[in-house]
Symmetry: C2
Subunit: 460 residues, 2 copies
């Protein structure tokens, strides 16, 4: 698998001078991402593309590359695989679609492809795959232009190219967490989700594995590999095709069989994978688990809530109940410290509605003193801190606050309820730069904190 993700040399078969073709864009991406290995474009009709020397055929390459990406039409794939295989290349990414995901002819072609590659000992990612990303070495095989990702600990396994192009683009432009590796499985004629889980599980640079799946290729293998990994590293799974209607749609997308959902669900629980139900949740949990990956384990699932808004308190309490978590029972000493920031005569409990404290001592002091008191309470395992970015609150030094709260190394989330988006966007950037997760609803913040606590508590 190493040669798929850390190739020292890569051949792009079907390289192109045409800027709108995948065979050009892969080269462009590799150069822009600063790929650290050697690149060999292969095309009988070109001498040079983007300053790279082009080779007329695979057999004219100066060495056997670790990996080949085939950007040729499906009709040519078998011939190219055979030629490359004879030259000695045994790791290939096949981009072309319309194999088992297409018509009867494509189905037959894929069968022939499997026969050929198995007989030649070639390992294949695809067909219908736009391949892999490894941010560590600038490796990217996308056939669409792609800005370099931020480096980080989350690795994604996706089904088709839209993930790499669509969501990755979204992560780059709107999110702050970083990515380690990406694998796009496509039709899985050879390598599948289980292989990727095993490999990502063994990679130190990856601290969270996030998987979008429409179906499992080999159930037994998948469960075995997942069980091996999910005990050591969070394994998030978004499986679509859960319902009868969804399963029918799946069949026509990737030809996957999606099986009975209850069986899948029970299996996921058994192997300690974390199941999610939409992409928002996948990213919500991935970033929290990644940010807190190196923080110490926790004792329980007792949550403290500090909120500028009473509604935030009540909605958080409902969410704590929905997620099966517990509300921390704050000690008398903590309550005493909290209440010292309020006008005389106030009572407080967890969740803490702190508006009156803000009016009394200002937002900076209220947030800091109250959250510190809560963090120091041994009855508290994790905290959700709710902001509304409104005048008074906006005067806070949010970076200083987050830095002061991080020292406790108890998982926490910052939640913004409403507020001026222009300021919220700015604060979100500051907070996430500190590797603290930000959410825009109390429910999502609690769900993330709860997942981190369960993970760090061995209860996933």
């Amino acid at each position: 698998m190493n040669r798929f993700f850390e190739p020292q040399s890569i051949a792009v078969i079907g390289a192109s001078k045409n800027r709108s073709k995948g065979g050009y864009r892969i080269l462009e991406n590799l150069i822009e991402w600063g790929y650290t290995g050697r690149i060999y474009p292969v095309n009988p009709q070109a001498d040079e593309i983007l300053g790279l020397k082009v080779f007329p055929s695979v057999s004219s390459l100066p060495e056997i590359p670790d990996l080949a990406v085939l950007v040729v039409p499906r009709e040519m794939v078998l011939d190219v695989v055979e030629e490359a295989g004879k030259f000695g290349i045994d790791r290939m990414i096949i981009v072309a679609n319309r194999f088992s995901d297409g018509d009867a002819e494509g189905q037959k072609l894929e069968e022939s492809l499997v026969e050929l590659t198995e007989s030649m000992g070639i390992r294949v990612l695809g067909p219908n795959s736009i391949g892999v990303v490894n941010t560590k070495i600038g490796l990217v095989t996308s056939i669409l232009p792609l800005e370099a990702y931020k480096k980080g600990g989350v690795s994604f396994i996706g089904q088709t190219g839209m993930f790499l192009g669509g969501f990755a683009r979204w992560i780059t432009s709107s999110q702050y967490f970083g990515i380690d590796k990406v694998a796009i499985l496509g039709n899985k004629c050879d390598l599948d989700e289980a292989d990727m889980i095993e490999y990502f599980g063994s990679e130190k640079s990856c601290n969270v594995i996030a998987l979008y799946l429409e179906g499992v290729k080999d159930g037994r293998k998948f469960l075995k590999k997942a069980a091996n990994v999910a005990g050591k590293k969070p394994l998030l799974i978004l499986k679509s095709g859960r319902t009868r209607i969804g399963a029918r749609a799946t069949a026509s997308h990737t030809g996957s069989m999606s099986g009975e959902d209850r069986v899948f669900d029970a299996a996921m629980k058994q192997v300690h994978a974390i199941r999610v139900y939409d992409f928002d949740e996948l990213f919500d949990l991935a970033k929290a688990l990644s940010y807190f990956a190196d923080w110490p384990s926790v004792k329980g699932e007792r949550v403290g809530v500090v909120s500028v808004s009473g509604a935030g308190c009540v909605l958080s309490a409902d969410a704590i109940s929905d997620c099966g978590l517990m509300l921390s029972d704050l000690s008398e000493d903590t309550i005493k410290r909290v209440i010292s920031t309020y006008p005389p005569g106030w009572m407080v409990q967890n969740p803490i509605d702190m508006w009156s404290a803000i009016e009394e001592v200002g937002a900076d002091e209220a947030y800091l003193k109250i959250t510190q008191a809560v963090m120091e309470d041994p009855e508290v395992d994790g905290v959700s801190i709710i902001f509304m970015v409104i005048p008074t609150v906006t005067e806070m030094d949010i970076r200083r606050f987050v830095q002061a709260i991080k020292v406790y190394e108890k998982p926490f989330a910052i939640c913004f309820m409403g507020g001026d988006m222009r300021v919220v966007d700015d604060w979100e950037r500051i907070i996430e730069e500190e590797k603290v997760p930000v959410y825009h609803s109390p429910e999502r913040a609690i769900r993330a904190i709860g997942t981190v606590l369960r993970w760090k508590n061995g209860k996933v």
Copy 2:
């Protein structure tokens, strides 16, 4: 109620020259929002604030104002109410908190307040309320600075001030739908959610009522008014304090009793209110119902899905199943029209995975022809259209596309999965300016479309 929402004159008792005080900010907001009535600041120690003549006492006012907003400490509230009541003012908003939401003394004060106002025939909104908004006449009583809202059809009923200041600010800065009126109930010593529902129900400028509730003051009255309105106008209800833990938090926030949730849920179904579970869902559905308020009714709940991504198809299909909707069974003629945009040999079904059509004829033509075919199919009641803003797709003229699809007057949503946020933000603005709702996940788009179809089908 008219005098609360369409006062021709308003007294601000406790007006202030201090820019950081609520008594200053109300005046500032009224001026900036262009309030069309007469403003009477009352303060014994000032002559002029913000160019407005200040009156030393209520009794020195040149007329009996339709409405008074009391921005005085709780200790002074009873005296001021009595003085203003004697002068003839019988509509008052009381801003001060720490009444029944505070200590025992506050509890007693609120009881005295109720006694006093009832005996004098004064109607009260509050205490612990920052009042009302009516965008039509520039009426706003917020004690925090507030940018003017966009005018529109959605009216909100909230429990405490955070809604007006926090969420409204978020709506103004990040959303495109407009607001008609807002009522903040506070402690509901007199006027409550039922009164507001009845009033908003009778207002033509309001086409959706959205309610955040921690508890119901008078269950029977609430159900009666809700039943009267919810048949004619969509009534969205977010009720927190659903769980035991949440209910405990509620009690300390607004002193509301939240009761048994299953009972509430059954009652909401009975009166045809639409229950939601978080603020995202509240806004998601409010804008869709408002945008499509004047569109014709529909025959069923059969949904078509047009998606650039196979994953979008499968996730939408799952969501259609989760929401109890149906996937449209497209006619042969529709299929034929759709397939004419694909390379030879393709098969399509609903949900339509259109990537290959985009590759064949370009994004503009593929989206337009396929969506038009789907819209024209009598088996289709509503459509979800999924975009990934990636190269190729970005070349589309999105405004022209949306305008061409709107002519069918079948409810539809645009969903963005991933993509470059900088472009997505821009497209979102263009689409929502056309009064078509945008979502960022297939699940949320389907939920919104489904709710609109049910509403227009008489099945809510």
